[in-house]
């Protein structure tokens, strides 16, 4: 498990599963369809991503393909951090 995935899963346990580390969430499980997240939950998740990974989440990034599962988040964060590094 990469550091990004570890951090994302920790956030998931703390904030969407409320500490229930016994509940397993698959990499492609949709947060929306499984009822794990609502509209304010998405905004909280965005705030976490920006702070934790030092990335900027634009409004147009707010789409399920970027944010709706653990694997989608990993791809999104990796993409953002790569872009960010290549710009330096």
């Amino acid at each position: 498990m990469t550091m990004i995935e570890t951090d994302l899963r920790q956030y998931l346990v703390n904030n969407l599963l409320f500490g229930r580390s016994d509940v397993s969430v698959g990499g492609d499980t949709s947060f929306l369809e499984s009822g794990l997240i609502d509209s304010t939950g998405v905004l909280e998740l965005v705030a976490f991503l920006e702070e934790k990974f030092h990335i900027k989440v634009e409004d147009e990034d707010l789409i399920p393909a970027n944010l709706d599962s653990v694997n989608a988040l990993i791809r999104f964060v990796e993409g953002k951090t790569t872009t960010s590094h290549s710009r330096r």
Binding site: L17, L32, G35, S39, T40, D59, L62, P64
Partner: protein, 540 residues
């Protein structure tokens, strides 16, 4: 916009059509090639819908659906939902739709409360098992297309004539209330809305509100009555997805609650989009801040904006403010819709004069028959043919209503009305919880968010995260507190009554109030809140 109005046809519905499904069947016959529903990129014509309704009807008849049977539809907005709704009505049954996030426990409770005969579950629902429903007395359960026959228990309830639908809403006692609506109620309300929105066969609406509740239900019925198109998008969490659907489908209408518009304004590049087909917007479903309304008007300066006010008990709608009066009556919820009368009643029961504040009462053919199996509560709100809305307001000399407050503690969060008592009861069932108070606090997106303040029997045994997890297992997502603050004791008056305004202060600040000790809240939660607010500030 104008071309669409000229090309579209406004159907005149005759008074002899006394059942909802008969009116829609006529539209299905007259518009068989026209698109009724767009869902996940697929178009369903009215002809397709007719075929789907017939199929669903055959299945339900085979399963044993009889007149006046209550059938629960536990589904997300979809063409299958519309087909199930119409099939039940065509067989003489009564539709009881439940939000897709409803927990299995709540569904069981409602089955027993209703004496339901059937349950139709969407394949998307994962939070249940067949065993959950075997002892509930259902005759049948459809999981998608799979029929499961069960041991029916006849509840023996006497069902009034003409009932079409029962909509469950959060009750002030904490128990769910089933609002009983007849075909006459729904038809009266739908025709009245059509008379001022002037929907035609060329109209199409972005349907983001759940059909299971009164507002979403009225959006569905008005467009089916008009022969229009429902463009379904269940993904309001991601505003760009909704905007892309709007553009692609060329919708002419957007019906939403304050949260819908706040999300679009705050979290999308709304201004960069063009909506050439958009003709009207209908903000409703709760109070809308003037600041939010002015931002909507700034983005859509030349579109018709109909502010509306209503209640589930009125089949949805009681008043509307015509677009050309937005400036002149800028604090008003509008005048009574056709067929509805309003009056303001003062505390002593006397009818108020112009501009005097009192409780808003309404009467008309759209007013419910009462609450399912609850004569006491029904008698409390229905008086001599009038509905007591529970809202405080005043009527001006022109008959325009201004809502000045709510005389109950109901929380309005997103598209939902939620009883604090219902959440308090769940919290109080936890063995370590001593006291619980729940309030709504202002939120720029949700309107109000749910805040719980709790004291424990023994300090240190529970964290607010434990209580969040506890609520997550027992409450549908939109009823779960967003903030739980643990305090040594709840603020109370000398007579022992919980001081809700103080609870709001505690929740708003999310920091210890004077009565609060070090054990308050998970600081991480406060961090999240602060980060969320800073994000909002940045975007706004």
């Amino acid at each position: 916009m104008q071309a669409a109005e000229e090309a579209g046809k406004i159907y005149e519905h005759t008074q002899d059509e006394s059942r909802v499904e008969c009116i829609i069947d006529r539209m299905m016959g007259a518009n068989s090639e026209k698109t009724a529903v767009i869902y996940k990129g697929r178009r369903w014509t009215y002809g397709d819908l007719r075929v789907r309704v017939d199929l669903q009807k055959a299945r339900l008849a085979d399963a044993g659906l009889f007149e006046k049977n209550r059938v629960i539809v536990w589904m997300e907005n979809s063409p299958e939902y519309v087909a199930a709704y119409l099939a039940i009505l065509e067989l003489g049954g009564i539709v009881v739709a439940l939000h897709p996030q409803t927990t299995a426990e709540e569904v069981k409770r409602i089955i027993r409360h209703l004496g339901a005969a059937g349950l139709i579950v969407s394949p998307a629902m994962k939070q249940w098992a067949l065993g959950d429903f075997e002892p509930t007395g259902l005759r049948f359960l459809f999981a998608g297309e799979d029929l499961h026959r069960m041991q029916y228990h006849n509840s023996g309830h006497v069902v009034p004539e003409g009932v079409a639908q029962i909509i469950y809403t959060s009750g002030s006692t904490g128990r769910p209330k089933g609002v009983v609506l007849t075909h006459r109620n729904l038809i009266a309300n739908t025709r009245s809305i059509l008379s001022y929105l002037q929907l035609t066969t060329d109209d199409s609406v972005m349907a983001v509100l759940p059909f299971v509740y009164a507002y979403g239900n009225s959006v569905m019925l008005t467009h089916l009555f008009a022969g229009g198109t429902l463009v379904i998008e269940n993904n309001m969490l991601y505003p760009h997805v909704v905007l892309d659907s709007m553009i692609k489908a060329g919708v002419t209408g957007l019906s939403g609650v304050s949260t819908t518009y706040a999300l679009l304004l705050n979290h999308s590049n709304l201004k960069s989009y063009a909506f050439p087909a958009l003709r009207y917007l209908t903000p409703a479903g709760g109070p809308m801040r003037l600041e939010l309304l002015s931002r909507i008007r700034a983005v859509f300066p030349d579109r018709r904006i109909f502010l509306m006010y209503g209640q589930t008990e009125a089949s949805a709608r009681l008043t509307f403010l015509p677009p050309d009066l937005l400036d002149l009556k800028n604090e008003s919820a509008g005048r009574a819709i056709p067929g509805v009368s309003l009056k303001i009643v003062k505390e002593g029961g006397e009818t108020a004069g112009p501009d005097e504040v009192g409780e808003v009462w309404a009467c008309g053919d759209n007013i419910m028959q009462g609450y399912w199996q609850d004569t006491e509560l029904t008698a409390d709100v229905l008086r001599d043919g009038w509905l007591r809305t529970g809202d405080l307001g005043r009527l001006d000399t022109d008959g325009y209503l201004t809502i000045v407050g709510r005389n109950n503690e109901m929380i309005k969060s997103g598209a939902y009305r939620i009883s604090p008592n219902e959440i308090e009861e769940v919290l109080l069932q936890h063995p370590d919880v001593q006291e619980a108070g729940v309030v709504g606090i202002d939120d720029p997106i949700l309107g109000q968010k749910i805040c719980a303040v709790v004291s424990l029997r023994t300090t240190g045994v529970l964290t607010n995260q434990d209580l969040m997890a506890y609520c997550a297992q027992r409450l549908v997502q939109y009823k779960r507190p967003k903030v739980i603050t643990i305090v040594p004791a709840l603020p109370k008056s000398p007579s022992g009554k919980i001081l809700r305004p103080r609870l709001r202060e505690i929740g708003s600040l999310n920091v210890p109030a004077p009565v609060v000790s070090e054990q308050v809240a998970n600081p991480h939660l406060a961090d999240i809140e602060e980060r969320r607010w800073s994000k909002l500030r940045r975007v706004v």
